[in-house]
Symmetry: C2
Subunit: 230 residues, 2 copies
């Protein structure tokens, strides 16, 4: 209890929670009490407690006071890197090869996922990402030409579609789904592996002000692991 900074206070209180000083109910003292205990201002204590609340350690309610979360919500900051960054983080050189590129009508399933109307045009793209010339991931992507007309003419030889979009079109929100899938013939060929292998799939649809920008699925080569701290 030296520096009376919001972070030192936060860590100290975290320890006291872990040590079980307060049970799982309503037990914790309020901001004012803790502030005087730590001899800091209420503002500082508020910030420390707010941080603990943000990470799911405690729950705060007006009038109800501050309580230790019965079942702590275990949240992780999962950052979704570019494929290029994933490859380079493994110490390999990234390159990509466009397998297919066309403008076509969107199949019903994707149309629903992206909220497009029948007849809306979109760009379809299949890309293989390589790590030192070994297939690393296979990307199947739809880009709405309603939202991103410029994509039709984008030069994707030097940078990948992912990076082009990230650079040109910010997005406001999106949905991600992770799953496992057996490689069919096309996926097996693209990733230079056997049919039936288990592939890790990451599907992402992103939106800009309520308009779908792109919907993409990445299929990672067998053995891929997405790791992160919690």
């Amino acid at each position: 209890m030296n520096a009376v900074t919001h972070s030192s206070i936060r860590e100290d209180i975290r320890k006291r929670i872990v040590a079980g000083e307060w049970g799982l109910g309503e037990q914790m003292p309020g901001e004012i009490d803790l502030a005087s205990e730590y001899d800091c201002s209420r503002t500082t204590m508020n910030r420390a407690l707010r941080a603990l609340a943000d990470e799911g350690m405690i729950e705060r309610k007006r009038k109800g006071g501050t309580r230790v979360r019965p079942l702590p919500v275990h949240q992780a900051q999962l950052s979704i890197p570019l494929v290029r960054e994933q490859v380079e983080a493994r110490g390999a050189r990234h390159s990509h090869r466009i397998v297919k590129r066309s403008v076509r009508r969107v199949p019903a399933e994707v149309r629903q996922r992206m909220g497009l109307k029948e007849g809306d045009r979109a760009c379809f793209l299949e890309t293989v990402h390589l790590a030192d010339d070994t297939p690393f991931a296979f990307e199947r992507r739809w880009v709405s030409l309603e939202a991103v007309p410029a994509f039709e003419a984008a030069d994707l030889t030097r940078i990948s579609a992912n990076e082009w979009l990230v650079r040109e079109i910010p997005f406001t929100n999106g949905d991600v789904a992770l799953s496992a899938i057996c490689a069919d013939e096309a996926l097996a060929q693209a990733l230079d592996t056997e049919q039936g292998e288990a592939l890790f799939a990451l599907e992402r649809t992103t939106w800009l002000d309520g308009k779908a920008v792109t919907s993409v699925t990445f299929y990672y080569a067998p053995g891929f692991r997405l790791e992160f701290p919690i």
Copy 2:
């Protein structure tokens, strides 16, 4: 620009960034300028900008000022729910059945993952989680009896090991890895599916003050998707 609250300011500035008002370099005005522009205190502006920095939208450096992140870091708050919660969120009834439970020496691979010494004892546990009597996930777990001696005698018939541990032993940090794996014979049998099916695997090792508590892998039945917003 009505309420001059930190959140309204944050959202307004986010819009201006998305609209491209400032390029990808060093362009943004500093706290003081923005504070006077929004007619708020520097404290409030600081909080708004800090929030944008936390979510990876901008980068801040002393003296260097505030800049728009060239490639925004796309971070998601991924909360890892209990299996029971996952099942109940699908509107099904959760139950679990313990398949194996024993105390034994830990194989080298797990020992390394958990940082245990040779000869350390641990509890090994295999559990099948059911959703309305259909296999939903298969859990393979090691619990360090060094860290949690009480686990050896825990009653796991009513609540699962996961919940027992969450209730009894808080943890300070952990590692998570997601991957896809082909079902071998044992997994296929446990999940009542075919050998070779692609399974989604979630592996997690948790620590309490540097001591490994438990290392667990969940294998989800085919078709499982882990979804979250970004």
